[in-house]
Symmetry: D2
Subunit: 342 residues, 4 copies
């Protein structure tokens, strides 16, 4: 039997790609390492085609569970902007990717750290140690460059890039994305996109579009040790305070898949807007932007939650069975669902 199609979440329409790249200008690239005990990688999201260090997009962070080793969030919380593309990788590869971000910034901006401020590496991580031998620290700085160079609006999902070795509810997890188109009460239309690195969830807790998965289909090998990174992008004009609010709503979508933000799961959301940028230079003119009124935000909040839930399902549906270190295997959910059907 073929597996059932991935359910559609919510009532809001998706954008043309049903991916975060429906937010104009957003692209995503991967470097995937898949060789025996090394099953890992890097994923990079570019908020726009320009130099992130010079033209900084506004952003906000919501930490649902701070048990994690992501780096760069403190400065985003203080200054409300991103300095770099957003990178994702495995836990022990954060330093390599952070170093790569620094070198890439210096290469493009030779005065970075001299007459210009230092750059703030922004690297998110999940623990892919079940499939990937993290102790090898296999990700190299070149993999960041490779992922960045390959960034495109039509990017792969599933067991690719940072998602290569990830596990979600006992099944193969990884990278998923989705988008929703939200119409405000005043008629304006904005896109909200989600990109997740899905590596969380106790198998017995998986809920698909409101339906708990029958126990027989679930893999189960003990307590949850994962995490999930939720990146929300939008073209709506929001400031950093509002973007933190938007990011937090991704957690509602996460909860609907069965997560209770488990102790061991670093559950972190970041939202950014492409509606304007803040220049690095204090001598450049600042944007004069009419932000959305907070009382209009509910459709965007719904889109953040629905988009995140949809992105998690996309990660599960698109990830293929993967074998890693010590013969460990994570099976694709679709295979289990195909067997389960009457």
């Amino acid at each position: 039997m073929p597996p059932p199609a991935c359910p559609r979440i919510g009532r809001l329409p998706a954008g043309p790609r049903d991916a975060i790249s429906d937010v104009t200008g957003v692209t995503v690239g991967h470097a995937t390492l898949a060789d025996g005990a090394v099953q890992t990688g890097v994923t990079v999201l570019r908020p726009h085609a320009g130099e992130a260090y010079l033209q900084r997009v506004p952003a906000g962070v919501a930490v649902l569970n701070g048990f994690g080793k992501s780096t760069g969030l403190m400065q985003v919380q203080e200054l409300g902007v991103l300095d770099t593309p957003i990178a994702l990788t495995n836990t022990f590869s954060v330093p390599a990717v952070a170093a790569a971000q620094i070198r890439a910034c210096i290469a493009a901006n030779p005065e970075c750290g001299r007459s210009l401020p230092t750059v703030n590496p922004l690297v998110f991580e999940c623990n892919d140690g079940y499939l990937n031998d993290m102790q090898r620290m296999a990700v190299q700085e070149a993999h960041y460059a490779q992922a960045l160079a390959g960034a495109t609006a039509d990017f792969a999902q599933g067991a690719v890039g940072a998602g290569r070795g990830m596990t979600c509810f006992g099944f193969k997890g990884g990278i998923g994305s989705a988008s929703r188109v939200a119409t405000l009460g005043d008629g304006r239309v904005f896109t909200v996109g989600a990109l997740v690195l899905a590596n969380f969830g106790a198998p017995q807790n998986l809920v698909i579009a409101g339906r708990p998965l029958a126990a027989g289909a679930a893999a189960n090998d003990g307590p949850e040790k994962g995490s999930v990174i939720m990146i929300i992008g939008t073209d709506a004009p929001l400031d950093a305070r509002q973007l933190r609010r938007l990011a937090l709503r991704a957690g509602a979508g996460l909860a609907r898949t069965g997560s209770v933000f488990g102790h061991g799961s670093g559950d972190i959301a970041l939202a950014f807007s492409t509606a304007y940028t803040v220049p690095l230079s204090p001598h450049a003119p600042m944007p004069a932007v009419a932000m959305l009124h907070d009382a209009l935000l509910d459709p965007l909040f719904q889109a953040s939650a629905d988009g995140c839930e949809q992105a998690i399902l996309h990660a599960l549906w698109r990830a293929q069975t993967t074998t890693g270190r010590d013969g460990h295997v994570r099976h694709a959910l679709t295979g289990a669902l195909a067997q389960e059907q009457p």
Copy 2:
């Protein structure tokens, strides 16, 4: 047709009452005002039978959406303890109830605000303005005393106390409670209880135990204007940092009912522990408590989420159709469900 029974949420067993009073020592009382355009009240939760000002239970706060007028949270966040019983009421009655808490504390502790520190009123609120004419500020200080005096382990739920005028997903909301018994990985057993003041939710979003309610049954009179207060109690030995973590997980249960933490909904959770108390006096001995290891907390997190979702359903199931100001009516969900059944 009789309405369907309220669904059971999750796999964890409930305590004997399936209410927060399954946490030993916790009692709840109400003062209900129901007279024409006045449909409101006060609910008081006592964490133990003693004087809350002298023997302070540890507590933590998670603000999912800070759009709200609850008072007293800043000090709980700083000091990690409660000074008073927990009070709930309508938005415009927070001052009256806070004043009542101060007077009650002075009456019991004549040196409060003289040689002893001032007391920190802790009053949560939701906006019951659809049914209740809040502008009358009908709640008086005596109603707090009445609710406190009536606190019992076997308390009413639904359209009572602070829940009298509340609305949830377009139906009659109010007070709900539930409990779950969690067994840790090391075999120890603890109770987690939830008490909610449920006044949130856009009608079209209601999800009951994973199932969206058929559109035909839903009332709908425009944008969400509510809030939800989620009180979590436990007998597990946790410190204030851990209790904040526990409180946040109530938000996962909230999300499963269809909430996306809407802009206008002040969504606030507080968790407390009855496992020990901190004395007001710095001369009294401090408790020497072995807290739970954080890596053991997942069953409690599950209980917080499940208990909160169950408590919201209890509020909906137990609230009866109520008529308030200007002929406004909120119908009981159970009536709609009874009609909906085939």
Copy 3:
């Protein structure tokens, strides 16, 4: 001997009044209760002459020590705006003043809490219990109206309004204000004003413009039980995130007076901007404001710190010896300094 003049803090020039009312549009009013054991009051700051509920100024909050009973901060932190004038009073009078703010808002906006959102009372407090018999809860709602009606740019300082019964470093404290004019690196000029309710400090720790006060001059009656509220206003265009940053710098000025943010001292700062307002109505146009670049903020940060330190000194210099309950007396600092001079 006459007492020495109040020292000037820092190198930045003051505005014409050296008071927060140098920020155009800001006015302050007091209601003072001084009758035997009742030595207390209310102070109200209006950020502009209009209706605060309809035209909301942006604001940010920095909680240095959350041991305090101020109300309304949670919503300011979430939404980044003020709904009401800023009120200050004693600890046990917060409910009365909050109720007064609600009634004043309803009187001016009859749909508040009906078709319009509820209003968020914003009331700060310090404990004036040494001089004032707080248990009498003498402040009535009418005192708020009186203070509001009397708001003016040329307001009194010292032992007036909310400052009537306050103590600072063992001397008479109360209301103080100051302003600084800051020139940015790009030549633009903005005013930063400070208003403090000074009720903090262990006597042996007082530092005046860098000079510890000679021990002989200091009163000393045991441990600190006070608090300080620091309100910072500016005409610089800043958003809520930036205003939180500005508010925090008031704490640097506070520290220079000898405070270590003592356990019992609720040290709270709020900063607001008058450069633009956010309409209550989501149907009204939102302001399109070019905020200041964060890299230009240092002169404003300096002004916040210097202004706060100056305002504390003004409170001390302008407060007169006051006798309150049970014959308790707080002496003016100026008297002690006059005696101390050679």
Copy 4:
């Protein structure tokens, strides 16, 4: 003329070394790189002699200004414990040191990231780019090991380790340390130690023990670009919530040196306690500790502020004139003070 001796701050006595190593068990080591354009290094603080990953000390974080690239703080805030020794280095070397911490942990705990949780690198940084060519990223993982191996109670201060290239108020800054012995109201005696990486301050703002430095002595080459890291250690039994409170008070000491927490200065404080440890393993017994009552904390808060101010002065007094990249020179403060004396 010899320079004046470093002033003593405050009334509390110092411990025998007047350094953070007066907290029993705390040791500090450096690796210093000083070769032409490379003027940088690594400093490591060990909270105890055991394996930090297995026996985790409780800790709290206070972010006064989050403009910085330190890594690891999010998890400390969530879990309230440290996993690793505390490392300090320059901004662009955070990844190298974080990688070194991971490898060191794996070497000592081969199951780290396999059957055991991953380790949380904790690396603080300041920008030493005026003297040090940060773009060379000269710090290697071996330097971390070297600093760790050399950790001792009698460690050098000034232009050593991470302090090698740092600048403070236009003078040579770097590593400073101090301690204070605090006697609580109940007679118990505890030690509070401070270690700072001092790299902040606009030259015209330096205040030494309350006295502004005469303008003539101050170097001045434009806007502040620095940061300061403040590590507070104590043997007092405090939990993570209380340690955050203790850390924040270091900021009061910082402010007294003339800092207003400038925009470009990432001002971050972390406090830890050696009074007990939390085991990594949830199967090991948890400590049953009677924490200090919060109402007793003021002497510790004073010690945190005074110790931090003293440590900053120690950094200035002990740092020697250093020449770095492109002929840049930072002069020792002591030289300027010697010239300034009449």
